[in-house]
């Protein structure tokens, strides 16, 4: 089964790399050339087409990582732990991109780098949770204990995602009222670019998760070999 998995990774990963690159280039064309200019903020509003899809992609990654963690706790299959850590680590990359692009958008539009509003804080908390998750993975050395503890953190981390999504509905925030699924008037072309960029970033996420999974498989192999060396030595 492990053999079949690694063969599959080798076939699909290059295809995903090419597809991701093509989709990202097409998305950049749509963002910088095709989509109409927003009348209030001007050109800087185009950060929106990367800021929001990065957040959505990180949520997909964390939710997938959390689901894999739930399944790991039920089945104790190490490959699900590999999937969970891969999704969570790649998700953290997109979460950081979301925070950084948000800061570069906030500075010219709000005049400040960071607004301590509910959405910003809950998004920052999400990043902190998964940074903690990765630190925890480094600090617990026993593999099955590490997988169980990290699965619990991964499941807890998912709870923050609906809070981020609902933050500008539940509380008064610096972030604008919802423009997607919230009755806001988003131009049709803006919606198309937003959806296209999300698909492009999800393809990049899929590629990164597969690459990270290869690493997780190698880490387990190295840990197994180390145990054998210790047992024989």
């Amino acid at each position: 089964m492990a053999e079949a998995d690694s063969t599959q990774v080798d076939k699909l990963t290059p295809v995903l790399a090419v597809a991701g690159a093509v989709l990202v280039v097409a998305a950049l064309y749509l963002i910088f050339v095709w989509v109409p200019m927003e009348s209030t903020m001007g050109v800087v509003q185009r950060i929106f087409y990367f800021h929001v899809p990065s957040a959505a992609t990180s949520w997909v990654a964390f939710l997938t990582g959390g689901m894999a963690a739930v399944r790991y706790l039920i089945s104790r299959d190490g490959r699900l732990d590999d999937l969970s850590v891969s999704c969570n680590e790649a998700g953290l990359v997109f979460c950081i991109v979301n925070l950084v692009t948000g800061m570069f958008w906030a500075k010219p539009v709000w005049g400040i780098w960071w607004a301590w509003d509910a959405r910003g804080q809950s998004a920052l908390l999400l990043a902190v949770i998964y940074v903690g998750y990765l630190i925890l993975r480094q600090s617990v050395t026993e593999p099955s204990q590490r997988a169980v503890v990290c699965a619990v953190v991964s499941i807890c981390g998912m709870v923050d995602i609906p809070i981020i999504y609902m933050a500008n509905r539940w509380w008064r925030t610096q972030h604008p009222a919802p423009v997607i699924f919230g009755g806001g008037g988003l131009d049709a072309r803006m919606g198309i670019v937003l959806a296209f960029t999300t698909v492009a970033l999800l393809t990049v996420l899929w590629y990164l998760v597969r690459q990270r999974r290869k690493l997780a498989v190698m880490q387990r192999e190295a840990e197994g070999l180390r145990r054998m060396v210790h047992a024989l030595g």
Binding site: V43, F50, S54, V93, V100, T101, L208, L215, A222, L232
Partner: protein
């Protein structure tokens, strides 16, 4: 307009730098692990050879470390 363009440029550059650094970190960690796995396999083979050898001397022609 030009001022705003600067922020757009910073945001997109930062996003891609973060992605590229992550891909580079995966490649670097994979390289390290491959080296570790190769070393561990060599070590394991040497240990197995020593345990199979009744004299306990190991292979005298081997230039690999036996410890």
């Amino acid at each position: 307009m030009e001022e705003n363009l600067k922020w757009l440029w910073y945001a997109f550059s930062a996003a891609w730098i973060i992605h590229i650094l992550y891909v580079a970190s995966i490649a670097s960690r994979a390289k390290d692990l491959r080296g570790q796995i190769d070393n561990l396999k060599t070590l394991l083979q040497d240990q197995q050879k020593r345990s199979d050898d009744p004299s306990g001397q190991g292979d005298p022609h081997s230039d690999r470390p036996t410890g």
